[in-house]
């Protein structure tokens, strides 16, 4: 299990949860019951992470290690980054008890607007990107208005949005594809920071960033532990605490090492990591985040507790629009142009990521990190099957079954956890 290196290096506190299950394998031995109880508790609450590690291991074996090669890990990051960005927004929408079916069309529209401005009008690349974000915010506000203030179910509003914004994409592009972007714009999705501070056959800067991330993680964990102790909250034993940090550090550094040996640190990974970090903290620690969970958990109770439900719902959709625009920029940059059919089915991948990652259909439950792991499960599978040359039709069948089984496994685990209380 120690050789399974999840292709995720999110250098923030919450990625710890994703790696927790790796930790015991590395630190195995010494610790006694403390350690075992941690493991069994995790087995119940984080089945999805175990599934992820198992899938990574499976494909590492099936592809004889190719799936974990430096080049391929870099590839997974580049190829699925925009789905992960969408999944961040989607999980928040789902926690609040809504759904957004329009994100694929919004990805297409924002990319198209950017392409028209940059390619056809020749404005600087960053003006195109800002325009795309502005369009995303307007689209989000549009959805938010109908959902929050008119009270139409999000399923209907965004189903309409899916058609509406696909149509507008066609209008904006006048039914043709636009290509290519200038090289600066392309760099958003395919640029690397490489050789900044040299290195001998590898990129020292990537390793440095990895090191900083690990140090930051260790520091924030230590601070949390201190605060919990000060408030007389239970904490895990010190050796276990250290083992956990060492394990996370090893995984992150192994991942950074593979990246450094390929093309260096992808810019898009920096964007993604920053978004995951920010949104994890927002969902967990901000008043806004709490209100999202409260609305999804019990709408009436939230209303009667003074939560401004309409405003919160509105901003949830504005945020989804913003992240759709970010995904639109990354996608258009990666595909080096805008196509009328861009982003089709992205909404389903993002929704699948959120649900595989433990979000509840009824709302109130879910995490950003969970959704990322859910997205990565889909990513590692698609990528692994592509490496193995599995037919597209079979890939689709497998992904469908995995979505179903992952959620069934999660439901089963939760039910078992629930009945034992």
């Amino acid at each position: 299990m120690t050789r399974t290196v999840p292709p995720s290096s999110e250098p923030e506190a919450q990625s710890a949860t994703a790696q927790k299950d790796v930790a015991p394998a590395i630190a195995a031995g010494g610790e006694g019951s403390d350690f075992r109880s941690l493991f069994s508790r995790n087995l119940r609450t984080s089945g999805i992470y175990i599934a992820f590690v198992a899938i990574v291991a499976l494909f590492a074996i099936l592809t004889e290690g190719t799936s974990l090669s430096p080049g391929n890990i870099t590839n997974i990051v580049l190829q699925y980054s925009y789905i992960l960005v969408l999944a961040i927004g989607m999980v928040i929408v789902i926690i609040a008890g809504h759904i957004d079916l329009s994100v694929g069309s919004v990805v297409a529209l924002t990319g198209a607007v950017s392409a028209v401005l940059v390619i056809r009008q020749g404005v600087p690349w960053w003006v195109g990107a800002l325009a795309a974000i502005a369009v995303g915010l307007v689209v989000g506000a549009w959805h938010g208005f109908w959902v929050a203030y008119v009270g139409i179910p999000a399923f209907i509003v965004t189903l309409a949005g899916m058609l509406l914004f696909r149509g507008l994409t066609l209008q904006v592009l006048e039914n043709i594809s636009l290509s290519p972007f200038p090289s600066e714009y392309q760099k958003i999705a395919s640029g690397f920071s490489n050789g900044l501070i040299g290195g001998n056959g590898y990129d020292a800067f990537t390793l440095l960033i990895g090191g900083v991330a690990v140090a930051g993680y260790a520091f924030s964990q230590f601070r949390t532990r201190q605060a919990r102790t000060a408030y007389k909250q239970p904490v895990e034993s010190f050796p276990l605490f250290v083992a956990k940090i060492v394990a996370v550090g090893l995984v992150v550094m192994a991942f950074a090492w593979q990246l450094a040996n390929a093309r260096g640190l992808p810019y898009v990974l920096v964007i993604l990591a920053a978004l995951i970090l920010v949104y994890s903290v927002v969902t967990k620690r901000s008043v806004f985040g709490r209100q999202v969970y409260a609305i999804g958990g019990n709408l009436s109770a939230a209303t009667l507790s003074g939560v401004k439900v309409k405003a919160v719902n509105f901003w949830i959709f504005v945020n989804m629009g913003f992240l759709s625009a970010v995904a639109g920029i990354i996608y258009s940059s990666r595909s080096n142009g805008a196509q009328p059919a861009a982003g089709e089915m992205f909404e389903l991948d993002a929704i699948a990521a959120a649900f595989i990652g433990g979000a509840a259909v009824t709302g109130g439950v879910g995490t950003v990190v969970g959704a990322m792991v859910g997205g990565l499960i889909m990513a590692v599978m698609s990528n692994g099957m592509q490496l193995m040359g599995v037919d597209q039709s079979i890939q689709s069948v497998v992904k469908g079954l995995v979505l179903l089984l992952a959620v069934a496994f999660d439901v089963y685990n939760k039910r078992r956890a629930g009945s034992s209380r």
Binding site: A227, R228, A230, Y231, Q233, K284, R285, S286, V287, F288, R290, Q291, Y293, A294, G297, N298, S300, A301, A302, T303, L304, S305, G306, V307, K308, A360, G364, V365, G418, S419, S420, R421
Partner: protein
């Protein structure tokens, strides 16, 4: 004596918890047998064992029904044998008609295999007649009140040739008239030879209707009392339930009312969709260190009055004035109401009061998050501390503040609701049915908490359907009828009788 049912030494264990331990229950044929016990005592678990929700093999012990050892593998099995359970939360489909509901899963088919609606409706009409419900069988169930829906449930049970009818808290949601009718119906079913088991918290109903009562405490049978001799009083039953004598249902309190805190003047509210006044020119006031009660029958507008004051959470065209400490305030939203020091704990804590899938901590902080936050960021450690303090001071029985609220008992859930509102540091607390559906011991604790609050100078408004409760804890009681305040009595002048007279006063007389 001929027993229709004997449950012998039933033991049911959940991982880590022994829910039932050697429980025995013997029910004589043709009697009304009551089961009482505090919440969490194991009454519902016992009934789930009986009805096959927990199938044979998952528990130890023996069930003998109608002379045969029975091993039910599911609800269908037990229903086939003639045992029908009617749950507290009614299991009817609101959009289907009465007849459709009665024969749901048990459809009346004609010769061609399709449902014969004429036959179904005719049979349904006959069944409705036998339960004394005068409604057209094609009326959608959603259009009926709770009391009538309860009757439909019973008609449905009768359609299945029921021998043993189990009712879980049948009158909890009913008003007095409907309760009377239901109890009368149970009597007439008894005459027809149908045995009933009734789980109830309402001891007066038990003494009025049951032939015998079995008391369960902490997963064990305490005793079975026969009610025929007439010597068993409510106090006697309570002693069995709590295992000690309650000196009184209501803790003593010295009353020292201070300055006026809340005054509501000429408050009127329209129904959200219909053109009628639900609250009509109501005025009342409450002082610091005082508990006032609002008494009224179902539909009198009690909850509507409270919710409309609490940030206009109910109705439209709200008019009237609210004064806090003598100064007029606006409470146009829940946030404004909270900011002005008003708190409202709802009558239905599961539906409107709590986020059941979250833990104690996040429920306690839900209404006062801004107090824990700086620039939009919540201090999680401080939040834990606040919740931990509440857990201790309110005596919430849970292993930790990370326990999921949905898994707590009703009384403990109510304490979480109170903790949530106390954390907003209100001057006046409006408590809507604060002890509904919670057991005697926990009720006493809730009353103690209320006393502690008024001792600390808070003003408390209690809305309750149980007049003895209002008489036991209030200083003053207002009566509400058809949206109007019809009277105001200091507690020493109030009796159930004179309150009831005021509560049933109609509009003309009140005006």
């Amino acid at each position: 004596m001929d027993n229709i049912l004997e449950m012998r030494s039933i033991t049911k264990t959940f991982p880590g918890v022994k829910a039932l331990s050697e429980v025995s229950l013997a029910v004589a044929r043709g009697e009304v047998h009551a089961i009482c016990g505090e919440n969490g005592a194991g009454k519902s678990t016992l009934m789930k064992v009986l009805s096959g929700v927990y199938p044979a093999g998952t528990y130890d012990g023996e069930i003998v029904f109608d002379g045969e050892v029975s091993r039910f593998s599911g609800i269908r099995d037990s229903e086939h044998a003639g045992i029908v359970i009617i749950h507290q939360e009614l299991a009817l489909v609101p959009y289907l008609s009465i007849a459709e509901n009665i024969f749901l899963g048990n459809e009346r088919r004609g010769r061609n295999g399709l449902i014969d609606w004429n036959k179904a409706n005719a049979e349904a009409a006959a069944l409705l007649d036998s339960v004394g419900l005068r409604e057209n069988p094609t009326t959608p169930v959603g259009q009926l009140g709770v009391g009538k829906q309860q009757l439909v449930e019973i008609a449905k049970a009768l359609s299945k040739d029921v021998k043993l009818l189990i009712l879980d808290e049948p009158t909890a949601a009913l008003n007095d008239t409907d309760s009377e009718h239901l109890l009368g119906l149970l009597r007439s079913l008894k005459e027809r030879g149908i045995t009933s088991i009734m789980i109830s918290h309402k001891l007066n109903e038990i003494t009025a209707i049951a032939d015998s009562v079995t008391i369960i405490r902490d997963g064990q049978t305490v005793e079975t009392l026969s009610l025929h001799a007439g010597e068993v009083t409510q106090d006697r039953i309570i002693r069995g339930m709590v295992g000690r004598d309650l000196e009184s249902y209501y803790p003593e309190r010295e009353s020292h009312p201070g300055e006026e805190v809340l005054r509501v003047e000429d408050w009127s509210v329209k129904h959200p969709t219909q053109d009628r006044l639900v609250v009509d020119g109501a005025s009342f006031s409450v002082r610091a260190g005082e508990v006032i009660g609002i008494a009224g029958l179902m539909g009198a507008g009690r909850t509507e009055l409270a919710m409309s004051i609490f940030g206009r959470s109910y109705g439209r065209d709200v008019t009237g004035r609210i004064f806090m400490h003598g100064r007029e305030v606006k409470a146009r939203s829940v946030t404004e109401a909270i900011d002005n020091g008003i708190a409202y704990a709802t009558e239905d804590r599961k539906k409107y009061g709590l986020n059941l899938i979250e833990d104690i901590r996040r429920n306690v902080s839900a209404a006062g998050l801004s107090k824990l936050a700086r620039r939009g960021w919540v201090d999680g450690n401080e939040e834990t501390k606040v919740a931990e303090d509440s857990r201790r001071s309110m005596n919430i029985k849970a292993p930790s503040v990370s326990s999921i609220v949905g898994k707590l008992s009703g009384g403990n859930q109510q304490k979480v609701v109170l903790s949530k509102w106390l954390f907003t540091d209100p001057d006046v607390l409006i408590l809507d049915e604060p002890t509904r559906g919670i057991d005697v011991g926990a009720k006493y604790e809730i009353y103690t908490i209320i006393n502690r609050l008024v001792a600390a100078g808070k003003a408390v408004v209690v809305i309750s359907s149980e007049l003895p409760e209002l008489l036991g804890i209030c200083d003053r009681i207002y009566t509400l009828s058809a949206g109007r305040i019809t009277g105001e009595l200091p507690v020493r002048e109030a009796t159930q009788e004179n309150l009831m007279v005021l509560m049933t006063k109609d509009k003309e007389l009140a005006a």
